[in-house]
């Protein structure tokens, strides 16, 4: 490790101008409600996403209650059950995880981590949130209209989604489609902001390859989302037209309720192709930010540089690109031309290679590290367990032959909850605990956080591990109840009951989590500006929480990557990104 000594004045040219013109809010409303500060918008996004996510969590309790003790809770009838299934899935995937990772973490962390004053289009950013908020309201409204919300499953497959026989086939489905369309419009505004901020507003010295992996994950996920959401948008428009104008995009000649429908010549599989062309990248829209964030958490709390940074970046990019050519692995038994199976099974299993590499690099970052078992680190380790487990079952479902007996069973449900529900949620929790001192300037209650971790970690595993075996036995998904079969042992019901108990316990732990977050924001111990001794720029701000404009008078200048932990010859075990080489040197390095 050799540093060439420089005279700092020749090394860094002074910033020539005040970097970005910032909009300064004059009214209370402009500062806290229609705020154009990315940090405030981030908190608005996160709060809205978590609020609607809690609704989805409660819906999952209803599902679990019915599955564990069928027909004991009489307000859950078959139609209500399907509505709960649908709304739970759609809210969690789109309105919670997508919005939270990109709108929440993206807004908060991108400007801070790349060294910008704010997003490049603050006004558009503000509008983006309010459009998202409208989408959430439309979605919530569908609970209250006649016929209730849609119960077509989160995949919204036509023809059933818009035919009688499916709950919410009148107003519910239209509100859902409208809400999705609005969400996509809002997201596109936000997404443009994230991408352009990363491309154009990085501070001096912040080359792309010096960005923390968090930014890389959010960046690639945003690009995926920008390119994938149009498919959902198109299918939402087409399905709405089928309902409202009587077009036949997805509707073949069929019978409904005993008589012939007006449609002729549509193709239901076209919807499935469009949906999954969006739907598979959507998995990575949720997973890639989680990959990025967890890389940073592991590196910081193991006091070691992330192993194979460049490989990690390219793995994210390759996974993102490949995710557009694997969509039909959701459709092996959909009735599409079965010969597609050869192609899609191959592409799908190829994705496993860069993904596995990421896992190896996380693990190798722990190797020879100096592991502090802080709350964020614990959640990162939990992420690894869930992600490895879910990744392994992905190898079952990606391989057409192996997936056939398992598709449409609870095995699928267990798999995607492991890999894209629990694993990212572990990262969300870890990330919230990690950045909480920066966002609020205060510490959360450590004991409550540990309680939350252990219950969530062990509880979630007890929920989803046995669920795989229900699926292997052949229990189908989206079944209101499974009595009356001859091939299922009675003990299957006990498995269901135990899963439900675990799920309820995990659910209660989330209330402790929220309580801790809210109360500590006011009563917590004051936190220092860089409590984890981290290197990336958000920890180097003048004030904590960072003020409007993020940094002080001058934007920081970046000299190094974000992973200079335990650099040999340097006394401290970290060197912030904005410390010039000369200043980092000590007597040992010459």
């Amino acid at each position: 490790m050799e540093h060439i000594a420089h005279d700092e004045t020749s090394f860094v040219r002074p910033a020539e101008v005040g970097e970005m013109e910032l909009y300064h809010a004059k009214t209370w409303l402009g500062k806290y409600v229609f705020s154009q500060d990315a940090k405030t918008i981030a908190i608005q996004y996160a709060a809205t996403a978590i609020a609607i996510g809690m609704v989805a969590l409660v819906l999952s309790w209803f599902m679990r209650l019915q599955l564990a003790w069928p027909n004991t809770f009489t307000f859950i009838d078959p139609a209500y059950y399907l509505q709960a299934v649908t709304m739970h899935g759609m809210i969690m995937v789109v309105y919670l995880l997508t919005a939270l990772f990109l709108g929440g973490f993206g807004n908060y962390l991108i400007p801070l981590m790349v060294g910008a004053r704010d997003m490049v289009f603050p006004w558009l950013n503000m509008i983006s949130f309010w459009v998202y908020f409208t989408a959430v309201l439309l979605l919530a409204a569908s609970f209250f209209v006649g016929g209730g919300s849609t119960g077509a499953g989160w995949t919204l497959y036509p023809p059933q989604a818009i035919l009688p026989g499916t709950p919410g086939s009148e107003a519910g489905i239209l509100l859902m489609l409208a809400s999705l369309a609005v969400f996509i419009i809002g997201f596109t505004m936000g997404g443009l902001n994230y991408v352009v901020t990363i491309l154009q507003a990085r501070t001096r010295g912040m080359t792309l390859m010096r960005m923390p992996l968090t930014v890389w994950g959010i960046f690639v996920a945003t690009v995926l989302a920008l390119f994938a959401f149009p498919a959902l948008f198109v299918s939402a428009i087409m399905m709405s037209l089928d309902v409202l104008l009587g077009t036949s995009f997805f509707m073949p000649a069929i019978m409904t309720m005993g008589s012939e429908a007006d449609h002729v010549g549509g193709n239901p599989l076209l919807f499935q192709h469009l949906f999954w062309f969006f739907g598979h990248p959507e998995v990575y829209i949720v997973a890639l930010p989680a990959f990025g964030i967890v890389s940073d958490l592991i590196s910081i709390h193991a006091r070691k540089n992330i192993f194979g940074y460049r490989m990690m970046v390219w793995a994210i990019v390759i996974i993102g690109a490949l995710s557009f050519v694997v969509w039909a692995h959701h459709m092996y038994v959909s009735g599409m031309n079965p010969y597609f199976g050869f192609f899609f099974a191959t592409t799908t299993l190829i994705i496993a290679v860069p993904t596995a590499l990421k896992v190896y690099n996380w693990v190798l970052t722990l190797w020879q590290g100096n592991i502090h078992l802080t709350i964020p680190m614990l959640f990162s380790i939990a992420f690894l367990l869930f992600f490895i487990n879910g990744g392994m079952t992905g190898l079952f479902l990606g391989n057409a032959t192996v997936s056939m007996p398992l598709s449409d069973t609870l095995f699928v449900v267990a798999h995607f909850h492991m890999v894209m529900a629990v694993a990212p949620v572990m990262v969300v929790c870890g990330a919230i605990y990690h950045w909480y001192p920066k966002i609020t300037g205060r510490w959360y209650h450590e004991g409550m956080a540990r309680f939350h971790f252990w219950v969530t970690f062990v509880g979630s595993y007890l929920v989803f591990l046995p669920m795989h075996y229900l699926g292997i036995m052949g229990v189908p998904r989206r079944y209101f109840e499974i009595t009356g079969t001859t091939f299922l042992p009675d003990s299957a019901q006990n498995v269901n009951a135990s899963i439900t108990i675990a799920a309820l316990v995990v659910g209660v732990a989330q209330i402790v989590f929220l309580y801790n977050l809210i109360v500590s924001a006011f009563n917590g111990k004051k936190a220092p500006g860089n409590p984890w001794n981290a290197t990336s720029l958000e920890w180097q701000t003048e004030t904590t929480p960072p003020g409007h404009g993020n940094f002080g008078k001058e934007l920081p200048c970046v000299y190094r990557w974000a992973y200079d932990y335990s650099v040999p010859g340097v006394e401290e075990d970290f060197i912030p990104q904005n410390v010039p080489p000369r200043n980092a040197q000590t007597e040992g390095a010459q």
Binding site: E19, M20, G205, I237, L270, L274, R310
Partner: protein, 216 residues
């Protein structure tokens, strides 16, 4: 500049660091790259609709949309408005303020005429015998032309702002950035329209393409 493929990020900077950009420069670059990103999203959007159209075309019962000759005239209008913007850009670079203003207004008027023409085409189609919605190609026609029209209408918002700015100042070179963004958007949507119109709504061109590709 560092190379993203060869950079070894763990090596700290040893050379001078590029100076910071001014806020105005950042804003200018940002608008341009946001427009480019937006246009790639729009490309995906139209591509998906075209693919869906092609997929539906492979079925036996396919009936193409009836020909509407007005669409040719509309295409001409859109082409002219695109040319106007190109001219405006040239004149902005040559610092000819009055010419820029005229060309911008011309482009706006032509675009409004184009949209009116598209609406008339819709009316014509609705009144035709085959124009009922149960024919999938008609459904596609309304959807694709409608969405293209909405994009043009959205572009009008930016164009009107550019026009207001053009009349509010006398330095044509300061308008260049705005005008060139509008021009890019217009050229691009003209391109989209030519592809959509050429493939989908002027006879069975798309079917010929599918046949060449071996899908039928």
């Amino acid at each position: 500049m560092s190379n993203i493929f060869t950079e070894q990020p763990w090596i700290a900077d040893t050379g001078p660091i590029a100076p910071a950009l001014s806020g105005a420069e950042i804003a200018m670059h940002s608008r341009r790259s946001a427009l480019k990103v937006l246009l790639s999203v729009v490309s995906i959007f139209f591509m998906l609709m075209i693919v869906a159209y092609g997929g539906r075309m492979l079925y036996q019962d396919w009936q193409p949309t009836p020909q509407i000759s007005l669409l040719w005239a509309n295409t001409g209008l859109l082409l002219l408005s695109s040319l106007c913007l190109q001219a405006a850009l040239m004149w902005a670079r040559a610092d000819k303020v009055h010419w820029v203003r005229g060309a911008l207004v011309g482009a706006g008027v032509l675009t409004v005429l184009f949209l009116a023409g598209q609406l008339t085409a819709w009316q014509q189609l609705t009144s035709m015998v085959l124009g009922d919605f149960s024919n999938p190609s008609v459904g596609f026609f309304f959807m694709i032309t409608g969405i293209h029209g909405l994009h043009m209408a959205g572009g009008m918002v930016a164009l009107v702002r550019a026009i207001r700015r053009a009349f509010g100042q006398s330095d044509a070179r300061a308008m260049e950035h705005n005008v060139s963004n509008c021009a890019l958007y217009w050229h691009y949507l003209l391109g989209v329209w030519l592809v959509v119109f050429g493939l989908l709504f002027t006879g069975n061109n798309f079917e010929i393409l599918l046949r060449i590709c071996g899908f039928i």
